[in-house]
Amino acid sequence: MLRENGFGSGPTRDGSTDGSTINGDAPLTNGDPPIRIGVYVCHCGTNIARTVDVERVTEKAGELPGVAVARDYKYMCSDPGQELIKEDIEELGLNRIVVASCSPNLHEGTFRGATAAAGLNPFFFQMVNIREHASWVHEDRDLATEKAVDLVRAAVRRVHHHKALESRRVSIRPEALVVGGGIAGITAALTLAEAGKHVYLVEREASIGGHMAQFDKTFPTLDCAACILTPKMTQVKAHPNITLMTMTEVVKVDGFVGSYEVTVKHRPRYIDVSLCIGCQQCIDACVYKRGKFEDEFDVGLSKRKPIYLPNAQAVPQVVLIDPEQCIQFSSGKCKQTCVEACDRDAIFLDQEEQVETLDVGAIIMATGFQTFDPRRSPHYGYGIYPNVYTALEVERLVNASGPTGGEVVLRDGEKPTSVGIVHCVGSRNQKNNPWCSKVCCMYSLKLAHLIKEKTDAEVYNFYIDMRTPGKGFEEFYQRIAAEGAHLIRGKVASVYQHADGDGEMLVDVEDTLAGMVRRIPVDMLVLAVGLEPRADAEDVRRTFNITCSGDGWFMERHPKLAPVDTFTDGVYLAGCCQGPKDIPETVAQAGAAAGQTLALIDRGYIELEPNTAQVIAEDCSGCKTCIPLCPYQAILQSSRTSSRTRRSTRRSRGCWHMLEQAENAQQTSPEGFEPRIVALFCNWCTYMAADLAGTSRMRYAPNVRVVRVMCSGRIDTQFVMHAFARGADGVLIGGCHPGDCHYQEGNYKALRRFRLLRRVIESLGIEKERLRLEWISASEADRLRRVADEMAADIRALGPLQLSIPAEDFPSAEDAGAELPSPGIAEETAAKEAAVP
């Protein structure tokens, strides 16, 4: 029988008759010193001050309970700004700090540091986001200021409840996983291995090397791709610190930064990698006398047998068998000449898929890209006319080890006399991919040079804009122009074969520089296909619990300041999986990712956010409801205390107690009706989307007051009800899209609660427009804007939520006992209620 705080007296709209809130306004600091809060409102130059009346926010903050000092300052994040906090803590005895400035994603660490430097526990600090969430997204100075005041009030109320927390250290395993064996993965793996760390390099294909291995020359220096790549590939194979796993995919990732448990699946190769020496006698012995199946490495331009070497420079230099094509697998009746031919007995046709678990501390994603399939833009004739090629196919044609031995020839073996190269196929196009693929202009110029060199054909480059930003790039462009390649600035409208049927194609193109439409006959057309995220990027992203930007590339933590980090600690990005890049950029980014990994591993530990859940044993009745709800199985039943639960500190993640913020985020009463919408946003996606809306300077309804929660699954239905009871006209819950939850399944819990809660509030006459659950990812700022505007408009149309019954609506007992006229009580009370202002 403990700690009760009044009952029955539910909250009212004006909050005046009600002294009780959750866990009470009763003194929280039994015996602790009184709470003294310092509030600091940042101008951020003019970034905040232009739209938010900073002085007024400061003045209002100074009136709030517990606030000992409120100041505004030009740049709180500057050294003098931080110094201000430290001095005030020391001189004024502050024990809580609130800074109203930018997003906590930017400077929470900074101010926690300043707080700690003055000897105060850093978790007595709370940040208020009045830049991304107010000054940058609103225009009306009064409404933006009012919103800022509300947000500050909420934070001040919140810090009353803060407790000193201690960060916990978790050690980091020294091994790393690199996913993808292209030039990005190879570089990252070698860098880590050279630094003495053990690396697992996992590659889906049978050989490492990636796209770069398929190229002939590299721009702008025209050095041979194989010459620079092959030594690195062999180095990977030979390095004692690298475990190379080809034909292997990651199927599951458990754990967290410092100790990831990665489950990988090895597809059967039917060859023992340790026995095969790559002599290829088995290939010669195959019952297929000639190649019959499309060779993947040559992009279908040559044929291979069911048993084959991935390519001449393959690492590992080991053959494999395609079970889809091998007769033994389809009929079981092959003579197995390959097995006979192998004098090292390396062929095992009964090999099976194997699953293995790797323990690593960090992960580098280097899964690369795929090229655009030009069948999706059929007007270029790919797949319709035989002599329309993709640039990757032509890379193989010009390659001396390619299917034609480096000869550029048409399907019939003839040399082309006129070749067109169409830039931006599948790039810079709203219909498929809006982005610039960055490398196509340069590789198109390179191919123009190589084709001209090998065939002496007329080469036409059809480009929209020539993009050559890079060291030596513009010079390369000038060189190709001087070599006599035709450069026509205009988009190709259509490609078709001449009716005469001699195979020649006509390219209709607008020449915007000459101001005319040209029709150019070519006998070979090369499509400079763009780069796009791999088809399964979405699945891979889920496996690794990282995010994709709206266009599907893996998303970096910060586009400028954390370009190789992800939002998942200990997972880094390298190469084109993050966005189109050329080789030098890829190598640089892979080095950076390896550097970040080394910094993490070499420190040996990380500090975990201490805001994790705990079980108060004396309050726990052992109902066990929490146990199935924890996706990390972090809540364990303690045998010592019967069925009381205890928490595994190692695994549990942070969920914050936010109710105090919810109830206070909407208290000022504006002129006329402007809806108050309390928004409970997931820290990982929707809150980030709100930040992005700020950095993109989008404008949306200023009615929304954002409360950051760690996960939509943390949102107790009581939070929503409390917000309504405290005067919110609407509540917006924002979470990650299904399947994207940072905590695996929190958003599903949010959805389940929401569906039931919505039934309840509808039964209670609250319109469903007042409560919304939206999945808004970190990249969907525009969606956030739309939802906020829509909801504000909907609720404005509905009017204020007339929820609770102010005490004045009841005649007092004395009034009720006084002389009453004879009409029915209904009319009487209605008249009385109407008389209440």
Partner: protein, 271 residues
């Protein structure tokens, strides 16, 4: 399939009457007889829109409102009607201001439009909803041996590629194949037929007609199949005139490969 309200538009009760009659017969034979939208009005065509957008959208949206009242989608065979109605539908959804104006106008005649009507083209309905298999089964006399150049015109694929590719549409090709015809490769399938230029600037319009017919002939087509009454009118009427005036038209741009010699043009059939 959601109920379809047939919207013939003015052309199909005038110059495009054959199109109307064959379409009704085809749907009848497929067991889905067409029901004409009651009290439909002019779509406004493309010209009204260039004069007064508000009135043009109001005019067109009346048809949407009528269809919505019947809980039907609009089946619109004329390419121009298709484009105008689709454009209206999209604009009302995208522009709150225009939506408001138009709703007020509709309100004045006791109508309303919430945005629940799709604009369907017979090519879309026949290839997607009905399907080639059912059409193949329904064909009584296959068009065996007939070589057809499919001509889509511009308005059903541009600017909105709603049910087919913008540059390389395929639905008519598939439909024609289902009827047993041989489809010849026809790279000019979405190029301009000259539209009203044939009337205002005949030397320009007829040249465009000539190119289409000539290419079809060069590709060995016996007939051109069209889905637009205006295309049909131009190609049909122009098939004789364009030959005569061929000598008077000229190339404007250099770098063109000269087109092959003029031949007598192919005949035109509604698809």
């Amino acid at each position: 399939m959601k109920k379809l309200a047939y919207y013939p538009g003015c052309s199909l009760i005038g110059t495009g009457r054959a199109y109307d009659e064959s379409l009704r017969a085809v749907f009848e034979a497929l067991g889905e007889p067409l029901e004409e939208l009651d009290d439909w009005n002019c779509c406004g065509a493309t010209s009204y829109m260039s004069i007064d957008k508000g009135k043009a959208y109001a005019l067109a949206s009346r048809n949407l409102a009528l269809a919505e009242r019947e809980e039907a989608d609009l089946l619109t065979p004329c390419n121009a009607c298709y484009l105008v109605l689709e454009k209206t539908r999209r604009h009302l959804a995208d522009s709150a201001e225009m939506g408001h104006r138009v709703r007020r106008a509709l309100d004045a005649v006791g109508l309303s439009y919430e945005g629940d009507v799709r604009i369907r083209h017979p090519l879309e309905v026949l290839t997607q909803d009905v399907g080639e298999e059912r059409i193949k089964e329904a064909v009584k006399e296959p068009l065996k041996g007939l070589k057809v150049a499919p001509y889509y015109g511009c308005q059903i694929v541009r600017p909105y590629a709603t049910f087919d590719d913008q540059y390389h549409p395929q639905t008519m090709d598939r439909l024609l194949k289902a009827t047993g015809a041989k489809v010849v490769p026809y790279p000019f399938k979405t190029r301009c037929c000259g539209a009203s230029q044939t009337g205002t600037l005949p030397e320009v319009g007829l040249h465009l007609v000539y190119r289409l017919l000539n290419e079809a002939k060069a590709r060995g087509a016996d007939v051109l199949a069209v889905t637009c009454p205006l295309c049909q009118f131009n190609l049909d009427a122009g098939s004789t005139t364009s030959n005569r005036s061929r000598s008077s038209t000229s190339h404007r741009s250099s770098g063109w490969r000269s087109e092959s010699r003029p031949r007598s043009s192919a005949s035109i059939a509604p698809w």
